[in-house]
């Protein structure tokens, strides 16, 4: 047997002997164990057979607890469904899909293992062969990509004395956008001249939806007359349309910012971008890492947020949405 094969064999033996589980005694479990110890001492000291019987029952419950919780965690498969959008320092919805090939699962709690994400989701009863989606409100402390190494599934079934966990190795990255807040600074001057109706001297002569009718004034454009309404009213009425104003801003995060200053700037740019895009403007981003061309809409906002999230971090920019 080659050393490599011997190593593999030994790793398999170790895995078989020590399944990857972590066992934590709960608060009530600790007291339970202390009482069990006391009953054991009492039985040995007094020789009272009823105490032996009670001790046997208490110890058997510990064993049964271990067996039932192990059965709960066996044949379980987990995958990440992911989150729509994760903003730093605020809870966001995260989903996992969990299924059990054999047997039923009870009181399963899911969370991300070894990650700064806090919060967990739970499922009380997992029937066999059903793909159950577990929702949880997770919170990420800061902006940036969060490396996810695995999903921890924990159960305290059946008596809540022990919390047994199993970590399912599942690599991925969750991109956390900058914290949401209010933009204190003005976005500054728009990048280019007016687009649409913004430059029209007649401010209420927009090209948007119909907002009302009024009498045609001297010198106004006759093309605006609503002839049918004018005929029924016996005077010239004109259509008023909503004014559309779309401008373009390119927001910038200057190079050289670090630490808190960078975080603050990212949050501010994110808030400005959100506000401007909500108002219907086009927003672009200029950072040391690259440039996002100006555009409007929620997809553009997502692009800006993603660029801001990666700012100051190294790593792939394409497949970060694994989670």
């Amino acid at each position: 047997m080659t050393p490599r094969r011997r190593k593999q064999w030994w790793a398999r033996v170790r895995a078989w002997l020590r399944p990857p589980r972590t066992l934590k005694v709960t608060r009530i479990g600790r007291t339970y164990l202390v009482v069990t110890f006391g009953v054991g001492l009492g039985a040995l000291n007094t020789g009272n057979n009823l105490l032996y019987l009670l001790l046997g029952l208490l110890l058997s419950m510990v064993v049964v607890s271990g067996v039932l919780s192990e059965r709960c965690l066996q044949d379980v498969s987990v995958r990440r469904v992911g989150a729509d959008a994760a903003f730093a320092a605020e809870p966001f919805a995260f989903r996992w899909a969990i299924a059990k090939k054999r047997g039923h699962g009870f009181a399963l709690t899911l969370g991300e293992a070894d990650s700064p994400l806090t919060g967990e989701g739970g499922v009380g009863y997992l029937p066999m062969g059903v793909d159950h989606v577990v929702r949880a409100n997770l919170t990420a402390p800061r902006r940036g990509p969060v490396l996810l190494t695995g999903v921890r599934v924990t159960t305290t079934w059946p008596l809540g004395l022990f919390a047994k966990s199993r970590v399912f190795s599942l690599e991925g990255t969750l991109l956390v956008y900058p914290r949401r807040g209010y933009a204190c600074q003005d976005p500054g001057e728009a990048e280019r001249g007016p687009v649409g109706d913004a430059g029209n001297p007649r401010r209420n002569d927009g090209t948007g939806d119909v907002s009302g009718l009024r009498e045609l004034m001297q010198g106004e454009d006759a093309r605006r007359i609503h002839w049918r309404k004018s005929a029924s009213a016996g005077k010239l009425l004109r259509v008023e349309r909503e004014r559309e104003e779309r401008r373009t801003w390119v927001l910038a995060v200057v190079a050289g910012l670090e630490g808190d200053a960078l975080e603050r700037r990212c949050e501010e740019v994110a808030a400005l971008a959100h506000r401007l895009i909500e108002e219907g403007h086009e927003v672009g981003l200029d950072t040391a890492d690259g440039r996002v061309r100006p555009a409007a809409g929620t997809a553009q906002e997502r692009r800006v947020l993603r660029a801001l999230a990666w700012l100051g971090h190294e790593g792939p920019h394409e497949d970060e949405e694994a989670a």
Binding site: L50, L53, L55, L59, S60, V67, L68, R71, P158, L159
Partner: protein, 682 residues
């Protein structure tokens, strides 16, 4: 309500735990009342202490002080006080707002109460309470665990939880039994608490007098007062024997007394009369319902001793003392007693009149001063000249049974209860019949006395039990040459217990379970463990030789076959998995061998560097091994992924090439190392 079922189970579990202590009958009544009230409120969903948890905790302090004072005053045992306090803590928690912490405290106080119950009682009811507590609390805990994981607003899958939990509990109970049987006892004096007062006051007892005219309510009491194992064991379901406690010889017209006094100061063993062939050995337990300290034995007792008194704190050897009237009493107090007795076989006590003390000799013919003359006249008329004592007694007993009826409904005290029984009411209970026979015999010059005790004996498993309702009185007539002989004037149908048959059956069933519980659990010892081990290793052969041998194999053969089958199945599963595993590809084996050779050449490898990456790197570095390794790498990739498997012997050939190249490289490296050294030397 979402938590409703779980909380009810929790509360009921705690109630079962408290009941495990309560059945001992040792807890103060007020603690029972308080706990019952708290449990009732909790079950009705009224958490009275929910808003004032800390303030109401002060009540516990008050209770602790009261219990402590009782302990200091000596009116309460420390263990009992601790158990009562645990119960009241549990009651307080029951009435508090349900929270995870409170739930845990209720369960853990329940656990403490169950442990306390084990220290206070050894009754079968404790076992029932223990199982009830285990089941109810486990269900509550499991529902709590699942509830915590179910998102708010979704239903708790109660039904789905119960099935696996029931399976788990079954295994836990089986495990507990296995642990109980197999865990080695380190102390040979295994004994659980043998005595607890139980629920209800004792209803029987022996006083120094027997007064006629009392109500006969005791005959309707089915409680078990005595338990005895006989040797040789009579093969009878109903023993119908007389268990004598004491005798009386002076009747003053209203009540019976005794002339004898205490003999001796107490001893471990008392001999009442010499033994003879065929003594009947009895191991007797007097239960808490008995309520007296007089030893009882089958008629006629010869020797009593080896006694122990059982109290709440334990058992200890007890001294006994002989009193007048053949009564033997315990000198040490106790809730229950156990002792051994030897009795003469039926037929007479063998006492000689001359050997009796003088005052007792005189008392055997004593009549009350104001006895109704009609008693003697009637006796003379019935006997009609009969002078043989036993025959006379039997004649009179038959007459009494014929002329008088049995009743337990009496009108209270009368001036002359004997005359009232014989000539007015013509009805009475066993004491009237026995008194009438004794005095009628005495009026005719026959020596006789009254005996009290029990009549009966009902077999439960291998033990005979006697109930409170079996209390009885009868007559001893002195027959020359035979001593005192028992003659019973009470109609046979009314001698034993008059309790309801249903109640008796129920208690009999309970006693049967209790007996098994006691022998299998409470008294289980290291000796029993050895017996179990011996029986497993060498099963006992049947004692009945004529019993036809079973055609089925013995149990151990089944067990061995089961274990062998399980082992075989396990081996087969592992073997099948091993044989059915995915075999490594030939090319994989080849590359393993190549890598082993490269490892022996001590080539520097990067972390996770594959063979093709290594080959590419060596080629870039113009390493001497590269010309040998390149064709090998190419051939490996073809064999592994290109669909051109290695020919027979090809891998060995390629490996030999690599080996030669490695050897040549090693020689070259050694030569290069020597050359600079030589240059430096020159």
């Amino acid at each position: 309500m979402r938590h409703g079922l779980r909380l009810r189970l929790r509360d009921l579990g705690a109630g079962a735990a408290f009941a495990s202590m309560g059945v001992s009958g040792q807890l103060p009544v007020w603690t029972l009342a308080l706990y019952g009230l708290a449990l009732l409120c909790a079950l009705m969903g009224r958490r009275l202490f929910g808003r004032r948890a800390k303030l109401t905790a002060l009540l516990l302090l008050v209770v602790a002080v009261v219990l402590g004072m009782n302990v200091l005053a000596g009116s309460l045992n420390l263990v009992v006080a601790a158990c009562a306090f645990a119960g009241l803590i549990s009651a307080h928690r029951l009435l508090s707002t349900p929270e995870p912490a409170t739930d845990g405290q209720v369960h853990l106080s329940g656990l403490l109460m169950v442990a306390g119950g084990a220290a206070l009682t050894g009754e079968l009811t404790y076992g029932v309470c223990l199982v009830a507590f285990g089941v109810l609390s486990s269900m509550s805990l499991a529902l709590g665990v699942v509830e915590a994981a179910v998102p708010e607003g979704e239903p708790v899958p109660v039904r789905q939880v119960m099935r696996p939990l029931a399976t788990g509990l079954t295994f836990a109970v089986a495990g507990a039994v296995a642990f109980f049987i197999l865990f080695p006892r380190l102390n040979w004096n295994m004994m659980g608490p043998r005595a607890a007062p139980g629920l209800g006051a004792a209803t029987t007892g022996f006083s120094n007098t027997v007064r006629l005219g009392g109500a006969g309510t005791i005959k309707g009491n089915p409680r078990i007062v005595l338990r005895a194992t006989l040797d040789p064991a009579p093969d009878k379901e109903n023993l119908d024997a007389y268990w004598v406690g004491r005798t009386y010889d002076i009747f003053d017209g209203q009540e019976w007394t005794n002339v004898g006094g205490a003999r001796g100061t107490g001893d471990w063993m008392v001999t009442l009369r010499p033994g003879s062939e065929g003594l009947i050995h009895q191991r007797v337990e007097l239960l808490p319902a008995y309520g007296a300290s007089t030893l009882v034995a089958l008629e006629t007792p010869s020797r009593l001793g080896n006694a122990a008194s059982h109290t709440q704190t334990g058992s200890r050897r007890a001294r006994i003392q002989e009193l007048g009237g053949g009564e033997v009493r315990f000198l040490d107090p106790g809730i229950a007693f156990s002792y051994e007795a030897y009795s003469l076989p039926p037929g007479g006590s063998g006492d000689s009149f001359q050997k009796l003390p003088a005052n007792e000799q005189d008392a055997l013919l004593t009549l009350p001063e104001n006895i109704d003359p009609r008693v003697a006249q009637t006796a003379a008329r019935v006997l009609n000249g009969e002078r043989e004592p036993l025959a006379a007694a039997q004649k009179l007993a038959a007459w009494l049974q014929r002329e008088n009826s049995y009743t337990l409904e009496l009108g209270g005290d009368v001036e002359d209860p004997l005359a009232d029984f014989l000539f007015e009411r013509k009805a009475g209970h066993c004491e009237h019949f026995a008194t009438a026979l004794t005095l009628m015999l005495r009026t005719q010059g026959f020596r006789a006395r009254l005996a009290t005790g029990f009549f009966g004996g009902e077999r439960v498993n291998d033990v005979y039990i006697v109930r409170a309702g079996d209390a009885h009185a009868w007559t001893h007539v002195l027959v020359p040459g035979r001593g005192f002989v028992t003659v019973d004037a009470t109609p046979p149908a009314h001698r034993a217990s008059q309790a309801s048959e249903f109640l008796q059956d129920l208690l009999g069933f309970y006693e049967s379970l209790e007996e098994r519980w006691r022998s299998a659990v409470v008294d289980y010892s290291f000796r029993d463990q050895l017996d179990v081990a011996r029986a497993l290793v060498r099963p006992p052969k049947g004692s009945d030789e004529d019993e036809s041998p079973s055609r089925l194999p013995p149990l151990r053969a089944w067990a061995t076959a089961l274990v062998a089958g399980a082992v075989t199945y396990g081996v087969w599963r592992r073997l099948a998995r091993f044989l059915g595993r995915e075999r490594p590809h030939d090319a994989t084996r080849f590359v393993d061998a190549v890598e082993a050779q490269l490892a022996s050449a001590r080539l520097e490898r990067h972390e996770g560097e594959t063979l093709e990456e290594l080959d590419a790197r060596l080629a870039r570095e113009h390493h001497p091994l590269s010309p040998a390794l390149s064709p090998i790498t190419r051939r490996y990739l073809e064999a592994r992924f290109g669909g051109r498997p290695l020919r027979q012997g090809e891998s060995a050939e390629l490996l030999a090439t690599l080996k030669r190249a490695i050897a040549a490289d090693a020689r070259r490296a050694a030569a290069e190392e020597r050359a600079p050294r030589a240059r430096r030397a020159s």
